[in-house]
Amino acid sequence: MTYGRRMQTKLGGSPTANPNRLRSDLLLKLEMESNPESLCLVRAAVERATEVLHFQEADSRAIVRSVDEALANVMRHAYKGEKGRTIEVTCRRLHGERREDNREGIEIVMLDSGAPLDPTKLKSRPLEDVRPGGLGLHFMRQGMDKVEFSRKKGKNQLRLVKYLATAAPAVSPEGE
């Protein structure tokens, strides 16, 4: 599946081979340019991925919003508005046997080669201060279970994780 000239996607389903890495299946891998006009395409693709994993609608909206805000931040801050730079987005399905929390969900990793993140700017601003800007990170932290920034091999990496809401345990009649 290809979106436009410089937006390539790969759909996958095979589990990762590295036993040290927590087990996950590749759902979607895409490479896009730092062009705001591409955001709607990524939102659509990620929304479908959340539907495949049966996320509730509110959680699906939160995931899509978080990815959109993260990509917008890359375009504005890491690439400083420059178009045509590469951003990689990988979505994986997380399985229940993870050592850290034993829950299923989705992991979205975004990579860019832009300017290193300034750690002092990774703070959400107080919302009581009504002014334009500074909400994107707040949306991500509100919407996702994990928001992890790192710098690896000259690239910025943002890892977002959202777990599926666990269904309430079925109530069985007494004596069973």
Partner: protein, 110 residues
């Protein structure tokens, strides 16, 4: 995103539709500023019924519009917010900062 303007009793109603994201929020901001600062419309209504998505840059443009309207002694009034837009307003804790009505009828009679 598309923006269509209507006039009503000297006020402007902007019917917005589509996605208000980083790609389109500058355009919306520009239209708001023209209505508020140049045309000096006393009441500017934004119909958000057909807005499918709004991101933080769209919210920032709305906040700029609100500040400009306050500076100019006018009113910026929102109506027709769907679940997605209302959710973002709540996340931003802006639902009580903006003047928001359920539908056009309520908004126009305010």
């Amino acid at each position: 995103m598309q923006i269509a303007a209507r006039q009503f009793q000297g006020w402007t109603i902007l019917d917005l539709s589509g996605d208000i994201d980083l790609s389109h929020s500058p355009e919306m901001r520009k239209v708001l500023m023209v209505e508020i600062k140049e045309k000096k419309i006393p009441k500017l209504y934004l119909n958000l019924k057909n807005v499918r998505y709004i991101d933080s840059s769209g919210i920032a443009s709305l906040v700029e519009g609100l500040k400009a309207s306050r500076d100019h002694g006018s009113r910026l009034i929102l109506f027709g917010l769907n679940t997605t837009v209302r959710e973002v307003m709540q996340l931003s804790r802006l639902q009580k900062i903006f003047e928001i009505y359920e539908d056009e009828e309520q908004a126009l009679s305010s």
